[in-house]
Symmetry: C2
Subunit: 507 residues, 2 copies
Amino acid sequence: MSLRPPALAPSPRLRARRLGLFTQHEAIVLMRRDCHVCRSEGLSARARVLLTAGNREVYATLLQLDGDLIAHDEAALSEEAWRLLDVQPGDPIGVRHAPALESLSSVRRRIYGSRLDAPAMAAIVGDVAAGRYTDIHLAAFLTASSAMPLDEAETVALTQAMVDVGDRLTWDAPVVIDKHSIGGLPGNRTTPIVVAILTACGLMAPKTSSRAITSPAGTADTMETLAPVDLNLAAMRRVVEAEGGCLVWGGAVSLSPADDIFIRIERVLDVDTEGQLVASVLSKKIAAGSNHVVLDLPVGPTAKVRSEAAGQQLATRLTEVAARFGVKARCLLTDGSQPVGRGVGPALEAWDVLAVLQNLSDAPQDLRARACLLAGAALELAGAAVPGTGARLAEAVLADGRAWSKFQRICEAQGGMRTPPKAAVRSPILARRAGRVVLINNRQVATLAKLAGAPDRKAAGLTLEARLGDEVARGQPLLTVNAETSGELAYALDYATAHPDMIEIEA
Amino acid sequence: MSLRPPALAPSPRLRARRLGLFTQHEAIVLMRRDCHVCRSEGLSARARVLLTAGNREVYATLLQLDGDLIAHDEAALSEEAWRLLDVQPGDPIGVRHAPALESLSSVRRRIYGSRLDAPAMAAIVGDVAAGRYTDIHLAAFLTASSAMPLDEAETVALTQAMVDVGDRLTWDAPVVIDKHSIGGLPGNRTTPIVVAILTACGLMAPKTSSRAITSPAGTADTMETLAPVDLNLAAMRRVVEAEGGCLVWGGAVSLSPADDIFIRIERVLDVDTEGQLVASVLSKKIAAGSNHVVLDLPVGPTAKVRSEAAGQQLATRLTEVAARFGVKARCLLTDGSQPVGRGVGPALEAWDVLAVLQNLSDAPQDLRARACLLAGAALELAGAAVPGTGARLAEAVLADGRAWSKFQRICEAQGGMRTPPKAAVRSPILARRAGRVVLINNRQVATLAKLAGAPDRKAAGLTLEARLGDEVARGQPLLTVNAETSGELAYALDYATAHPDMIEIEA
């Protein structure tokens, strides 16, 4: 039950102050512990409050201050609160107890084992997208839907609710195609190549990508070393109308905003259950206006999907739920036993992409083959290739330079092509013994690249010098660490020393 | 996997600054976004960091600032971080990425349905008590153990772990008795009367109580209007040695500190499952050195326990788990259909307690009867009364003034008896129609008392003027709201107006 007075009493006011406080997603307001609002409203530290300015409302967490850092009549706002409330310094702000959220009773019912129907799911996702849930509520909802996994009806309802709370794009084409990898495999940067092939074949592929969440590089991070990616919706439309496709960052468009909030909590908990994954992937594709999707599910002992059976089950759920939204989906279970290509990190992966597009002799053939496989499946799914011939068509479009030419035009349309940076400091990790490479730990490779500075340092990451099955001599480089500063290089090398089995060699 | 470099590199240092920032339980550190530590460690907002000073370590959440509120070489600490780190202004503080917590893998396993053994539970509770879990982790653990309720073995393991992480008291007596109500019933302030009766009968009853969590008054809040309650362990021992019992606040002694952390999250989620409740109640009793416990379980439509069957099941679990720790427990299912006594709020309940102890003619008889019932059960459980005669003995000790005399001595020993305050402003809520009182909503009554200012304003709360079954005339007072300021009175009256069915009258 809310303690907020139900009457129409005006809520007590303070003056807005911008604090320059970075709190990630959470809107925070700082007030003097002895200010008149805290006293009259009976507010204590960490209370959830409702901030109002004009007709805007923001749920925020209250922190209190003693001392003179802020004045008695000030409400000092974190950057997130400032952005959402859209005020100017000194503007009056109302502060009161946040009302109770009806949707939390559905979360409680779900904890105790009741299935949620579509209206309940919509109410939850609506409150989540509006920033009304605290971390505690979010974690409870996600945990409850992991402890008793979402069934198909709940997954459909969650997907629909996640689509409904965000923007939704529409395109003037019968076939709008997308390609997505569920991740977990370092260097798996096929998207720029696939989009170049598909658009070169005349398909519409308005691709929005995310930045890295837990990986050393997201497609948007890599693309940013090749062209501007932070296009707004109007700019994105111009690129797609001109070239049939784009490769932009999805952050400027608000597609499935609840998903970004859920992902943040899932990352902390390191839980990523099927229902959430399906709703997360499909809600973004549906909101982006796609009606054909090819999904890459890498399977391997250190990938996200660990077994063929788990991959098949996930593929079935993805395809079935997609069909409920009129989206034709095709899932490809791919080899997830080792990183793809040579580079791991934004710029290093961009160099691999360029080598494939330009048909260079040292281009990583595994990346090329994967891109053709996925592009081929997409061409077949979209009806642009006869079944069984898609990969061959994709390979031809790549080989004759049409894909490379289209890729350059897309980059120019997005604001101009760039040359990816190269790292200032590099150091090899050497084989401690001679033998055959029998295992490459994807997770440790990703961590190593992150310690070297990826994705924030665009040039940082690593270059793999050996692959599964290779015979190596003692002292031969297994990989090279790339960093922008010697301090970051040292961190990464320390980690590599502490994890000698990152690349396992059998005599 | 932690991103913390594993090597022995010294962690970068900043100067400690006390910010006067109140964040409830959470240790927070504020640093400049562009300080050398954030840059070299790659720290972003809301990162979990490990703060070190001397041999002390504190897990904290990082918030970042732009601008000149703090200097580049400062780490500005919240009050909680300042207290835990125990530093002086300007002291050097180390800051680095917090290491990964091994116990979280057990939380993940529990989410996915695996039972936890005693070592896993101990590791979780150890990390919780040390402040290493964020709200996200805490909510996930509590949700997982609600979605699939704790079994008896897990409840025992959790109870043991919660006892082990805190202080543990020992007393030089064969029988140490305690009394506890699981709450949910406003005005149910029997403890001071029960302790007075038991100690007057020669039993040892070293009672520690909590302050209000969600209710308008905890026993410690009420007792504080009658005597000092914030005694440290040495002072508490002196009182118990002199008088055989005490009535102090448990906060100065660290009994089951993990419980306080769990309760905070349970309150936000409004989940309170059997296993957690049993571990919460019993861990505090065991840690306090009690070996006999009488438990009051009020049952009623708006009480915490809603049905006789649920009460019986909870009683069985409490008794069985208590036995595993050598504690004899007796549970009494009591009438939870309406508030107890007349006053609701710290001082108002204290006046009720005084009236019963002093045998005043207008003393609330329901409070007196409940206290005698519980004290009688305790006397029988402890072997100080023949079964069937306990309540009579309790009544006699109350009637002849021995309990009142003992109560005064305990208050004097704790630092001197006080007179509870009386409220400055009062206003009655009147019956809108004539008829019979058929329902009193415990939850709404509690909320009304809190809106009037309880428990922070000691004199605030309400006085019930009608009870279930009473015939009332139109315009007759049903209850009186007591407040310390007219603003708080207005809030409470607004709420009462909006909830006319708080006390239901049938014509």
